[in-house]
Amino acid sequence: MATILTQQPVTPVPPPRSGLRDFWRQLRRNPMGMTGLIMLVTIVLIALFAPWIAPYDPYRPVRARIDTIYAPPGAGHLLGTDDAGKDVLSAFIYGARVSLIVGFTASFIAVAIGGMLGLVAGYYGGRIGGLLMRFTDIILVIPDLPLYVVLIALLGSNLWNIILAIALLSWTGTARLVYSQVLSVKERQFVLRARAIGAPDLHIMRRHILPMVLPLILAQNALVIAIAILSESTLAFLGLGDPSLISWGTMLNLAFGRGAISLGAWWALLPPGLGIVWVVLGWTLLGHVVEQIVNPRLKTHHLMH
């Protein structure tokens, strides 16, 4: 019988690379990702500090006079006034809040639903997985907009119903993505090993599989936020927005419906329109770069070192 050979000393290795630090290092090098990030940080700051930045309170009723309706940009109103004689800049600044709240909340719910469904379908596979994924496919092929209109008409147009409707229709992409990734992760030996020690399914999913797919879920989240914001604006523009809140979509809807175009009041249309483009572009840029960094299938950065 041989004795245990003494273990060779552990060679000094750098401390475990923190996933987050590594991620930041890669993001900082990517001009596209940084552009998106900066675009978003500005809009988030504007939304957060709206009461301090906005020159007027857009929710306070003003008595409109004939010369304050669609007044062009000037000293008192940097971006002019709207159909009710209110300051467009203030409405724009407050409108960012609604867009971001809808974007964050709806995408969070959507990604949670999609992630959970994909995880369960991928892990159990077989009949349960097949059934869940067919259900996903059905939701995926339903045209979004008509269904939104029906849902909002039924539920009533307030902010939470809008968020719910958007969330209920935008989880499918995440579910598909997570499903495919779980299929590959669950075949890894450490999952088999966990089963060999009698680990319950819930433990395996939470401890071994979720951490491996979480980065992917987060990347997907950024893309879903962009879609959610766009959906909210679309609904508001179609007159299905929450009437008690100022959002970019509502601003567009009002301006469009109340003669801003025929009066040539571009200042009532451009700011909310550009705001939507700005935020959606920001999230999309950031989302794609984050996805590139964390999605093993899209990984190219190792080629660039």
Binding site: M1, I4, T6, Q7, V10, Q189, A196, I197, G198
Partner: protein, 370 residues
């Protein structure tokens, strides 16, 4: 280990596998109809005695790993019995246990995997990895768990200070040690070693094998050692079973099997071992053809199309695995008649052979006296 080999009584048997089958369905077409089966494991019988090491060898794809995994019920068997002598609940047929009941038996059977890289979760620390079985089975928690993990790591030659590191900071051999520590955590009786050293360098292989042997004698472990490297198996096993296309063709204690093989396939395998000593020459045994597909095996004895001793009966009838004396099990119709060549013992090589091999060059000998 020596003692286990000598007294082969039935209550010494830890695990007995009878007629175990694992068939994987082949699905094809739009409707995913089952059009056939890959018979990865096709009716095998063997037993492992307490405290011994049974080596399970065979070519890639012969069903070795599937056997190991089916025994642990990581795969569900198609048919057969897996009788395990559990220290707490006595003999149980694992093939019939429900998943919920299996949890009780699981601590007593563990597995060590081949690939030390994919078998450790990269996002958990070494402490979490080794401690996971203890936490799941509710054996220990808090400081007690930490202490036990430290003890286990020390046992396999990893410094406990490294508990907070992640697997990527370790070499292949060290990772395999971590895997062993984890398998040991619940004080198992049986450990299925699924090619535990195949992915390691030769020098590290020896260290890990020695570690496994030391742990075996210290904790009275029983190993099912799945491997394709015959020299590794010879080194560690008390008995060896040879598999061919999902079927065990020969099983005997290591010495008899290596020196006096009774199955033509074993003979061919042994002849293929590379030998570091030029004096240990064996006649190469040529195997014509390829390993048959387990989805479409030949008739009769699966080995007959490649066997140079095959007769008509081999095509028609599949030979059962039978004991031809001294617990030497063979599945061959002609096991008693064939004179097969095993590996040669170093001591058996006649010294006379040396000058005789120089004979073909007579010229220098003639030249020397002149």
């Amino acid at each position: 280990m020596e003692t286990a080999r000598k007294n082969g009584k039935s209550d010494d048997i830890l695990l007995e596998v009878k007629g175990l089958k694992k068939h994987f369905p082949i699905q094809s077409g739009f409707l995913r109809r089952v059009t056939g089966y890959v018979k990865a494991v096709d009716g095998i019988d063997f037993y492992i005695k307490k405290g011994e090491t049974l080596g399970l060898v065979g070519e890639s794809g012969c069903g070795k790993s599937t056997t190991g995994r089916t025994i642990l019920r990581l795969l569900d068997p198609t048919a057969g019995e897996i009788v395990f002598d559990d220290p707490n609940i006595g003999k149980v047929d694992l093939a019939k246990l429900k998943r919920s009941q299996l949890k009780q038996v699981r601590p007593n059977m563990q597995i060590i995997f081949q690939d030390p890289f994919s078998s450790l979760n990269p996002r958990l620390t070494v402490g979490q990895i080794v401690g996971e079985p203890l936490a799941i089975q509710g054996v220990a928690s808090g400081q007690a768990l930490k202490d036990r993990v430290a003890e286990l790591l020390q046992e396999v030659g990893i410094r406990p200070e490294n508990m907070t590191r992640y697997p990527h900071a370790f070499s292949g051999g060290q990772r395999q040690r971590i895997g062993i520590a984890r398998a040991l955590a619940l004080n198992p009786k049986l450990i299925v070693c699924d090619e535990p050293v195949s992915a390691l360098d030769v020098s590290i292989q020896a260290q890990v094998l020695n570690l496994l042997e030391d742990l075996q004698s210290k904790y009275d472990l029983t190993y099912l050692f799945v491997a394709h490297d015959l020299s590794v198996v010879e080194h560690i096993s008390d008995r060896v079973a040879v598999m061919y296309v999902g079927y065990i063709v020969e099983m005997a204690d290591t010495d008899s099997l290596y020196y006096h093989p009774k199955h033509p396939y074993t003979e061919a395998l042994l002849a293929a071992i590379p030998k570091p000593d030029p004096r240990r020459r064996t006649r190469p045994v040529k195997l014509p053809g390829d390993v048959p597909s387990p989805a479409n095996p030949p008739s009769g004895c699966y080995f007959h199309p490649r066997c140079r001793y095959a007769k008509d009966i081999c095509k028609a009838e599949r030979p059962p695995l039978r004991d031809i004396g001294n617990e030497h099990w063979v599945a061959c119709h002609f096991a008693e008649e064939l004179q097969l060549q095993g590996v040669t013992r170093l001591s058996e090589i006649p010294v006379i052979e040396l000058p005789r091999r120089q004979a073909p060059a007579p010229a220098p000998t003639a030249a020397t006296p002149a």
